[in-house]
């Protein structure tokens, strides 16, 4: 729960459910994305994190529940993985202008800011993973978004590039005051900078500020010294019964 009630929300989800082919993908998801803050979704594979982002983006319609967005909100989206056909000849410049046209100065400025000033006329197929990620990021920033939606933005990057990427993200969050919601597995980096962390496993398992999650006795044990693999364990206050019901335990 966001403690700071004075913070305005840019997106509010109210009891969002998604059911596909009689399978519950997401259940009773309610939370706010506060302006200017970083919200991080964590959770195991197949928990519905990406689907939740797509609901926020309007790509997937929820079966029930509402998604409220601030009027005139501008959203920048960086998808999980780009399945780019090698058959499309594209330069970085053209890639950045796929939807709207920007002049050369705007493009150069954004590439400068994201640390890839020399790439404007490179072919998109010759970029490294880290460079591609920055190009995608740069593209999502071009329209001065109020909210950035990032789906595992540092996936496949080496540790150095990963750290650089999150440093860049934090800088933008602070300088441009834009809200961020992201799915991330890089908890060791992300937790320190997130204002709000939600652990998703079809429903919201636990939530809180990074501080709260870290100071939580169970979480302390998990996020402290143990290996990264154990990061996904969290306090289980309920069990899933075979019929799909949830039983709360103390």
């Amino acid at each position: 729960m966001v403690k700071d009630n004075t913070t305005q929300a840019v997106v509010k989800l109210n009891d969002v459910n998604l059911c596909l082919n009689n399978k519950n993908i997401l259940e009773h998801i309610s939370f706010d994305i506060p302006a200017k803050q970083i919200t991080t979704l964590i959770g195991p594979n197949g928990a519905g994190k990406t689907t939740l982002l797509k609901i926020i983006l309007g790509i997937v319609a929820p079966s029930s529940g509402t998604v409220w967005k601030k009027e005139g909100i501008k959203i920048g989206y960086v998808p999980q993985k780009l399945y780019l056909s090698k058959n499309i000849p594209l330069t970085v410049e053209r890639f950045l202008c796929l939807n709207e046209h920007y002049n050369r100065k705007e493009l150069m400025d954004i590439l400068e800011e994201t640390g890839i000033p020399d790439l404007l006329s490179s072919s998109i197929h010759l970029l490294s993973g880290g460079e591609m990620q920055r190009v995608m990021f740069a593209r999502s920033l071009l329209k001065h978004p109020d909210l950035l939606v990032l789906d595992e933005p540092a996936q496949g990057l080496d540790p150095v590039a990963e750290e650089q990427f999150y440093a860049l993200l934090n800088r933008f969050n602070q300088e441009k005051k834009c809200a961020v919601i992201m799915v991330s597995h890089d908890l060791h980096i992300v937790l320190s900078s997130s204002h709000q962390v939600l652990c998703i496993n079809r429903h919201i398992c636990c939530r809180g500020s990074a501080k709260e999650i870290i100071s939580h006795p169970d979480c302390q044990q998990l996020f402290g010294e143990e290996s990264l693999l154990s990061l996904y364990r969290h306090r289980h206050d309920h069990r899933h019964l075979p019929n799909g019901d949830i039983k709360y335990v103390d």
Binding site: L82, P89, L98
Partner: protein, 264 residues
């Protein structure tokens, strides 16, 4: 010989079709949907049958059936549990066989199936030419209206959707474009060879293109060149035009591929 009306009609029809093959073929391979055109063109023989049964002519019959097939395939595309390529192959071949069986059952119509399958460019009539021109104008209109959005969708469909592009609508436009192209190519290259004319020039243009537009434009030029050389071979050496056009496309592809490998 070139001034004979039937020769001119055939040449004009081929060139019109080849100029369209660039942008449509490029969209096809950018979306990784090369199989799709095959399925559509195979269904066209059922269209010939429908046209004859209803008495509305083969062009109209083919256009109706191919467009309908395209729309049905879009709906079924993501809904069945079968792998897409397998599904496309099954539906295409089945439609082709239904067309062959249906045509063979019509006793009083002597239809030359070979002309539909492999094309008979010198038999293009005034009516056919008018039909091809009409279809081409429609295609150009659709391409001009949706080109930029089609590229965006081919690159990042989800992001396009999130930025307010109507992905569903533009996918339907793309399917209809392909369907129209196939209907217009039936008389020149024939149903079995038309997807070759769609895919090979675009794949060849990829070797040396730096922008999507350059690729589409070069693919059209390659298409026109191959169609004209194929046409000439048919006139002077009495070779089957459709097949010769496709072979010229393949030879160009091979040459460009070799040059490219040599340079790298």
């Amino acid at each position: 010989m070139l001034t004979e009306p039937f020769v001119l009609r055939g040449l004009i029809a081929s060139v019109i079709m080849a100029s369209l093959c660039g942008p449509i073929g490029c969209l096809m391979i950018w979306r990784n949907m090369a199989y799709f055109s095959d399925t559509l063109s195979h269904s066209a023989l059922t269209g010939v049958l429908l046209g004859l049964v209803l008495g509305i002519g083969d062009n109209a019959g083919v256009t109706i059936v191919v467009c309908l097939t395209a729309l049905i395939l879009t709906r079924l595309h993501h809904r069945n549990g079968v792998d897409n390529n397998i599904f496309l192959l099954i539906s295409g071949q089945t439609a082709l066989c239904l067309g062959i069986i249906g045509l063979s059952l019509m006793p009083d119509v002597r239809t030359d199936i070979t002309a539909y399958l492999f094309g008979d460019v010198l038999s293009v009539s005034d009516g056919d030419l008018a039909f091809i021109t009409l279809i081409a104008c429609l295609c150009v209109l659709l391409i001009v209206l949706s080109w930029k959005k089609q590229i965006f969708i081919a690159v990042m469909p989800d992001v396009a959707h999130s930025e307010g592009i109507n992905v569903g609508l533009h996918s339907v436009i793309f399917m209809i474009l392909t369907a129209l192209f196939i209907s217009s190519g039936m008389k020149t290259t024939g149903l079995l060879l038309i997807s070759a004319l769609l895919i090979i020039p675009a794949a060849t243009a990829r070797f040396f293109s730096k922008t999507p537009e350059m690729m589409a434009f070069s693919a059209s030029l390659i298409g026109i060149f191959c169609v004209m050389t194929g046409f000439a071979s048919s006139l002077y050496f009495d070779l089957p035009a459709g097949a010769t056009m496709v072979v010229f496309c393949s030879v160009l592809f091979l040459i460009c591929h070799l040059i490219r490998s040599f340079i790298q």
